[in-house]
Structure formats: C-alpha cells, structure tokens
C-alpha cells in the first residue's frame, strides 16, 4: 500500500469509528497511532503517543484555552449576562422585534468576554428567552434568535475556535482576534436587520416594548461598563503587544473574578461551578488537540495533504471554485459533527490548499468560523439548537430549526460580503504590526 493510500484508508477508518460512537479524540489517537506505526515503526508510533500528549499539555500557548474558558465561565456564573441583557433591553427594546434585537445585542456583548458559541447561546438563552416568551414572541422566532445570536460567541474575540485555528496554523492569535471584530459586528447587524424586516412584515412575531427614558438608559449602562473595560484591557493589551495571548486570558479571568467579587454577584458555589466547567471543557478540547497532533503526524508522514494540495493546484481551477468546495465541506461537516472537532481534524488537509490558491490565511480563519457557526445551528447536529432545546423544553427541535432559517440566510449574505470584500476582515489586522 502506498503511503498516500494508507493516509486515505486511515481517514475512512477514523470516520467509521466516529460514526460507531467512539469519542472523536479516541478515534484520532487510534488511527494516528496505527497509521504512523505502519508507515514508520511500532516503536515510532508508541513514542509518538507519549510524546504528543506530554508536549501538547505542557505547551505554554495552549494555556490560553483553559484561561479564556475560565473567563467565560466566571462571567456566566456571576450573572454578568443578566446585566448585559438589561442594558441591551433598555437601549434596543423600542425597535420592532425589540426583545429579539436586544438579545442579539446582548449576545454580541457577552461574546466579547466569552469565547464559546454554546456558552453564549446557553447564557443568553436563560436570560433572553423567558423575557421573549413572556411578551408572547413567536416560539420559533425567539428560539431561533438565541441560537443564532449564540454563534457570535466564537466570532467576536476572544474566540476558542480562532485560538485553535491560530495554534494549528501558527498564525498570530492577536491578529485573528482583531480580524473577527468587524465581521462579528457585521453579522450582528445583519441579524438585527433580519429581525426588524421580519417583524415589520409580520408584527405578530414579536412586538416592541415601551421605550425607556434617557436617564434609565444611562443607568442601565452601569451594569456593563466594567465588562466593557475588561474587554478593552484584554484585547487592547493583546494587540498592543503588552501581553501574550496566555497573559491576556489570565488577566481576563482574574478581572472577571474581581468584578464578580466587588459586585457581590459571584458566590463560592458559582466559582466552584465555573472551575468544574473549565476543567471539563479544557480537557475535552485539549485531548482533541493532542489527538489531532498524533493524527496529523500520520497524515504528514503519508504525504496525503501535500499530495491533495498539489493535485488541486494542478487542476488549474479558479481559486473561487476551490474555496466554494472547501466551504461546502465545512458547512456539511459542521452539520454532522461538533464544529470545533471538525476544524481540528480537517485543517491540516485544507489549509495548504487555501494558501496555495492564494487566499489570505487570516481571512480564511474568519470565513471558517462563520461556516462552523452556520454548521452549529443547522440540522441534524446543531449544538446550539440542542442547548436551546435544553432551556426551552416545551419547544420542539423542529420549531427551533424553523426559526433558524432566516438567520442562516443572514449568515450566507455575510459570507458573500466578506468574500467579495476581503478588506472588511483584513483592514484592522493590517494596522497591527
């Protein structure tokens, strides 16, 4: 068997194991180990196992993940989400579909301190959904809004997906973060426009709430101002080169704790829960990363990714056709499995193709995030949708998926805009040295 064929067989076996319900990380370790042993030697494979685990876990860069997860968890357990929602409620409630618009606004705000899409959906779901239900918002519309708004969590920095993309492709995490800001705002704007348009066409979907006075609007700001400062400190410090990403994450987590303690909104119980949530998410993500390292050593040894990239290059196809195909694969992949794992598994294969086709790797990172976001709200496996289902027990999955379609449309428009005008993504990172 030629090495390339072994690589292809490995991928097929890995997918098969995953379909049989083996945890994604375990499937990658097994296939990576066996394949690498086959291509080199058993001793080589065995050494790869211990070596990858220890060095992946003890990498300084990787610490950025648990620390940013911790920051988001603290924010979640200290009721910051409620205050952000209150602010958005006071400022945006009077617009048609006001509570939905406020939810999107609050999601964007929470995304600025949380790097995970499911956490954002869960947080804003528990705050925003009851309010919308109370005001008789259409269930499909309300749940769809929260599920879609949650996806902003991984586009607006900090973002776990962008961190992992950065680590795997050796790009600057700071630049990737700043590249996500404008597209994140663009997407929030598109979601908002979609909500307003829908509510103007069909007012029964969701009505505006009475406007609040200027004084109350200012008062509502007090709940969120400290988080805004924390965001500016963390992201600003990172961009100015004052902190490394790991330091920025550590300062962010500590800052969130200080705010929680000063505001007396973080209990000991909440703190413990935040820690448990952090260990769980971190070990889940990091074992997948370590496994991907084993698997990717095997793939590299097989020469398959390089071969594929060269083959695609030799097709002389338009770069946009290649981009479209890869986008389709990510969209489909995100539909059937956890988007983050899908990214980790596939990036080694597609990244060389994209750079060879002449696309900017930072720009592609943002595009991938939006595609994975779209995947996380599409059936049959939409993680965000399951999260929302867990909060709104009485709404069935079918209804939530129905509510999501307009937002998927908004995402596709957003993608199109970013493909046509890549400078929207690249302008800000270009300013950073």
């Amino acid at each position: 068997m030629s090495p390339e064929l072994a690589g292809a067989c490995g991928i097929i076996i890995m997918v098969l194991l995953m379909i049989l319900g083996m945890p994604i990380a375990f499937s990658m370790i097994l296939v990576g180990f066996m394949g690498f042993s086959y291509l080199t030697s058993l001793d080589g494979g065995l050494f790869l196992l211990s070596d990858s685990f220890y060095y992946q876990f003890s990498s300084y860069t990787m610490l950025v993940i648990p620390l940013f997860v911790f920051m988001g968890e603290i924010a979640f357990h200290s009721g910051i989400s409620k205050r952000i929602y209150k602010t958005a409620h006071a400022w945006l409630g009077f617009i048609p579909g006001g509570l939905a618009v406020a939810t999107i606004g609050a999601c964007a705000g929470f995304a600025a301190i949380c790097g995970s899409s499911t956490a954002t959906a869960a947080t804003m779901g528990t705050v925003g959904l009851p309010e919308m239900r109370k005001h008789n918002y259409d269930p499909a519309f309300a749940t769809g809004t929260v599920a879609a708004g949650g996806t902003l969590g991984i586009l607006i920095p900090p973002s776990i997906v962008l961190i992992i993309y950065g680590i795997q492709t050796e790009l600057s995490i700071g630049k990737l973060f700043i590249a996500g800001i404008v597209p994140g705002l663009l997407l929030s704007g598109l979601f908002t426009a979609m909500i307003i348009a829908m509510c103007l066409l069909k007012p029964s979907l969701g009505s505006p709430i009475p406007g609040t006075g200027f004084k109350e609007k200012i008062k509502a700001l007090s709940g969120t101002i400290e988080m805004l400062l924390l965001f500016i400190l963390v992201i600003g410090g990172l961009l100015k080169g004052f902190f490394t990403p790991t330091e920025a994450a550590g300062i962010g987590a500590a800052g969130a704790i200080v705010i929680g303690v000063v505001k007396r909104s973080l209990s000991i119980k909440g703190f413990k829960k935040a820690l448990q949530g952090t260990t769980r998410t971190s070990s889940m993500v990091l074992i997948i990363l370590a496994s991907a390292m084993i698997f990717s050593k095997f793939l590299t040894a097989s020469g398959l990714p390089q071969g594929l990239a060269e083959w695609v290059g030799s097709l002389n196809a338009s770069p946009y056709i290649i981009l479209l195909c890869i986008m389709g694969i990510y969209l489909a992949g995100g539909c059937i499995m956890d988007p983050l794992s899908f990214l980790i598994i596939t990036i080694d294969i597609f990244f060389p193709m994209i750079t060879k086709a002449g696309f900017d790797p930072i720009w592609f990172g943002v595009i991938i995030v939006i595609l994975l976001e779209a995947g996380s709200i599409t059936p049959p496996v939409g993680l965000n949708v399951y999260v929302i289902k867990g909060i709104a027990h009485d709404v069935d999955l079918h209804t939530i998926f129905k509510g999501i379609f307009p937002f998927l449309g908004a995402m596709l428009i957003g993608l199109l805009v970013l493909i046509l005008f890549p400078d929207i993504v690249l302008f800000l990172p270009g300013l950073v040295k």
């Binding site: 194991l17 995953m18 379909i19 049989l20 319900g21 083996m22 945890p23 994604i24 990380a25 375990f26 370790i29 097994l30 180990f33 065995l46 050494f47 196992l49 211990s50 070596d51 685990f53 220890y54 876990f57 003890s58 990498s59 300084y60 990787m62 610490l63 648990p66 620390l67 911790f70 004052f242 902190f243 790991t246 330091e247 550590g250 300062i251 987590a253 500590a254 413990k272 820690l275 448990q276 952090t278 260990t279 769980r280 998410t281 971190s282 070990s283 889940m284 990091l286 074992i287 997948i288 059937i336 499995m337 956890d338 794992s341 049959p380 496996v381």
Partner: protein, 163 residues
Amino acid sequence: MMFSIEKITNAVARWLNWLSAIAIVAVMLIVCINVLSRSIFGIPLKGTVDIVSQLGVIIIACALAYTQVLKGHIRITLFIDRVPNPYRTAVNCIVDIIGIIMFAVMSWQTFLFAKNTYRVGELSEVLKIPLTPFAGFVTVGSAVLTLVLFVDLLKLTVKEFKK
C-alpha cells in the same frame, strides 16, 4: 461489588479533577503576578513560562478521567443512537474495549516516558524543575481514564445481563 468499584473510581477521578481546578487558579495567579510585576516594577517573574507550562500538564491530564465520567468527551451519537438494541450495546462494548486497550497502552507509554525523564534527569529550561513528576501526571491521568472506561464497560454488560 460493581457499585463500590464505580464509587471508588469516580471518587479518584473527581479528586484529580479538583487538582486540575487548583492548577487553573494557580496558573491564573502566577500569570497575573508576572504581568503586574513586569508592568509596575519592570521585573518579570523569573521562570513563569516554566512553571505554568508544567501546571498546564496537571490541568489537562488530571481532568481527562472526570470528563469521561461526565461523558464530556465529544462523540457523534447521531447514527449509533438509531441502531436497535442488542447491536447498539454490542458496538458500544467494542468501542469501549478499544478505548480501554488504547489508554492502557497510553498509560504504559507515558510511564516509560516519565521514567526516561527521571533517568536522563530532564529539567525545565529556566528554573531547572525536574519534569518527571509532571510527566507522571499524564500517566496517572491516562490510567484513571482507563479505569473509568472499564467501569463504563462493566456497567454496560451488567445492564445487558439484568434484562
């Protein structure tokens, strides 16, 4: 008997998980102290990267097993959940057995790795901390994960027998 094995394994996994949680707080504090000391006094904390990198091993390795107790390791259940029952349990058992063998090998290999760091006397770059104990945590983490997977397998078979 079955019950007590599960209880002990879960307790060990939970205990390790708290170690991981403590390591997270420690990393956060060390990183912050380093940034503050560097920006206020202009003196960076020597060896920060050394210490926190090794604590990173504890964060992840010690949380692996408990994450499995909580069924937190991501898997695709879309297809397997639709398979009718005796077959589904059979597949689940096989997948579990593969996992057990794999992490048993992993524990053994990481043990050899740790042993080797001891033999060579491998030290961290700046502070010259011995790496062996930290490499040992990967062994412990993998070994307890193997145990948790074993308990899962026992539970699956016991459930099938009771039917």
